[in-house]
């Protein structure tokens, strides 16, 4: 097998190729490391490349395979968002505040994937502390979209999305607090899944908004996403919000028919604000699913428009609380010059955090303050209940909800940086699933102005199997997910 084909292969294809001895894990890893070194710079997708570690692990994997040992992900490459703690390896969260932070342990997600045999090629760039929708708030500079280097790949998991879309790595982890997996997956033309809240452990995942954050994956096929999710998910006693529900065999059940599956189409998603061509791509995708036996039913989520303001109160409140730990005392950035302890804290935080993070900390502190708590935070928690109830009512009628992932295809770097509200509204279709804790997935469903757009599927709590089956069925009938940007072929 010529090594130039390795870059385009899915995890499942690489796994098969290795088991049939067409190539070794070392050949795979070396091919991709070369690609990362050739193309990684133009995309700025990685913060750290762990080449030496990857080569050692690949040699070990090849030895194990030679003696007939096997594990679900043995010898397969992936990258981790630089928000998952990795033992002994820089974990910066793309912030100056953690530019020097070397975790003393692995996040459970990292540990689980390692135990399944996966090999980490590096840590990917992201918005600072996952706060952003364009990957422009990173201390390490913005990530570029492989479809057009002047455009944003979306955020906050922009580095993971960009690396997978450009075939630098077949899969990567990400986290999704308001759309940070699904939005970049849509804008770069790949598959991204955010599981149910509690499905994947948050232990060792640097916290932004604890009641919304959830780890997930990026891949170039739904099948690969199923394989990875099955290995990273599961109960973890180190995470008090982890849920003890058995993990189904996502990959094993992926071929199940979608005949009779009831898919809800949200009327409110097609109101003003959605690009006409984007809407057309989504409707065409639903026709494909209809041809496969699914039934499309129009539904309402009456309060969905309130999801963005609700999110910015709840997420900012939780962020201001979570980020109070960064004080320069025990780890992370520490200011150089200070007169006393108070100035030490103020300067450390003032110099260590970027503008967007500071804005969210201040918003959060404001909505939690004594005089405004009821008016903002408590109010938002009540509206969150209403939005969640809307989803419950909808799921009494349908099995899945489908719609656009984003209002439009990728936007230019810099285009929305001066207007936080416009940036926030990019997540209008994705935030609802986080507020209600539901699983959501974006799969590529066409192109608008030569740029990929995504179809979002949202399922019931712990309904990942339905999402994956539906997405896989769609990918059996379409080839959008196999498209690769010209420059990275």
């Amino acid at each position: 097998m010529p090594t130039q084909n390795i870059q385009n292969m899915t995890l499942c294809a690489l796994k098969q190729g290795m088991s049939e001895k067409e190539f070794t894990s070392l050949e795979v890893i070396e091919t991709l490391l070369t690609r990362i070194s050739d193309h990684g710079g133009s995309l700025n997708a990685f913060i750290t490349i762990t080449a030496e570690h990857a080569i050692t692990e690949a040699k070990n994997a090849d030895k194990l395979m030679a003696v007939g040992k096997n594990k679900p992900l043995l010898g397969l490459p992936l990258a981790h968002k630089d928000l998952f703690c990795t033992d002994g390896i820089l974990t910066s969260c793309a912030s100056k505040m953690l530019h020097n932070f070397i975790p003393p342990y692995d996040a459970t997600v990292v540990k689980n994937l390692k135990a399944s045999g996966a090999i980490m090629l590096g840590k990917t760039n992201m918005d600072e502390f996952a706060m952003g929708s364009s990957n422009e708030t990173s201390y390490y500079g913005s990530v570029k979209n492989p479809w057009n280097l002047e455009l944003s790949p979306g955020g906050s998991s922009g580095g993971s999305a960009s690396a997978v879309a450009a075939c630098l790595v077949p899969a990567a982890t990400g986290t999704d607090t308001g759309g940070s997996i699904r939005q970049p997956a849509a804008l770069t033309g790949i598959t991204g899944i955010k599981p149910t809240y509690g499905r994947v452990s948050r232990f060792g995942m640097i916290a932004f908004a604890s009641s919304l954050d959830q780890g997930g994956v990026f891949a170039r096929s739904v099948e690969d996403a199923a394989l990875l999710l099955g290995e990273m998910a599961g109960f973890d006693e180190n995470d008090s919000t982890s849920v003890d529900v058995p993990v189904p065999d996502y990959l094993g059940s992926i071929n199940q028919s979608i005949k009779g599956l009831k898919i809800g189409l949200v009327r409110q998603h097609f109101d003003a604000g959605l690009d006409d061509n984007n809407a057309k791509a989504v409707r065409e995708a639903l026709e494909v699913l209809e041809d496969q036996g699914a039934e499309i039913i129009e539904i309402d989520l009456p309060n969905i428009e309130l999801s963005v303001p609700t999110y910015y109160v709840v997420a900012s409140a939780e962020c201001s609380s979570n980020l109070s730990r960064y004080d320069g005392v025990r780890f992370g950035y520490r200011a150089e010059n200070y007169k006393d302890l108070n100035e030490f804290y103020c300067k450390t935080r003032g110099e260590g955090f970027g503008a967007e993070v500071k804005r969210r900390i201040m918003t959060g502190t404001y909505v939690l303050s004594a005089g405004y708590y009821d008016a903002y935070y408590l109010k938002a928690q009540k509206v969150r209940q209403l939005i969640s109830q809307d989803f419950k009512n909808a799921f009494a009628k349908v099995d899945l909800i489908a719609g656009p992932t984003t209002p439009s295809p990728a936007f230019a770097l810099g285009a929305k940086m001066d207007d936080p509200i416009e940036m926030y509204l990019n997540d209008i279709y994705t935030i609802g699933a986080n507020l209600a804790g539901l699983p959501g997935m974006s799969i590529p469903c066409g192109f608008v102005n030569d740029l990929p757009v995504g179809l979002q599927l949202v399922g019931k709590h712990f309904g990942e199997e339905s999402l994956l089956q539906c997405g896989h069925r769609y990918q059996q009938k379409t080839d959008w997910h196999t498209r690769v940007p010209e420059r990275f072929k």
Binding site: S211, L306, R330, G332, Y345, M362, Y366
Partner: protein
């Protein structure tokens, strides 16, 4: 948290627009609605009170800028 003099105007403008944006929640009728604190309405899981972690102070303190005999040093607080 310090904000530089030259950042203040930008911070004020953007924070004001955010507060104005989230103000639309005030118009929503939420009488009788319970606030939602957890997406799965779960209670807190408890564990048995036993030691599960061991002292890794030296490894953990590799991340600290200024330590002495296992203690973190900060500017003097009490004269």
């Amino acid at each position: 948290m310090d904000i530089r003099e030259d950042e203040i105007q930008d911070v004020v403008e953007k924070l004001s627009s955010i507060v104005e944006f989230v103000d639309q929640l005030q118009a929503v009728t939420t009488d009788g609605t319970e606030p939602m604190a957890h997406p799965l309405a779960q209670g807190q899981r408890l564990r048995i009170d036993e030691i599960t972690e061991y002292n890794e102070r030296d490894k953990i303190q590799l991340n600290a800028k200024n330590i002495n005999k296992g203690m973190y040093l900060v500017p003097k607080v009490i004269d």
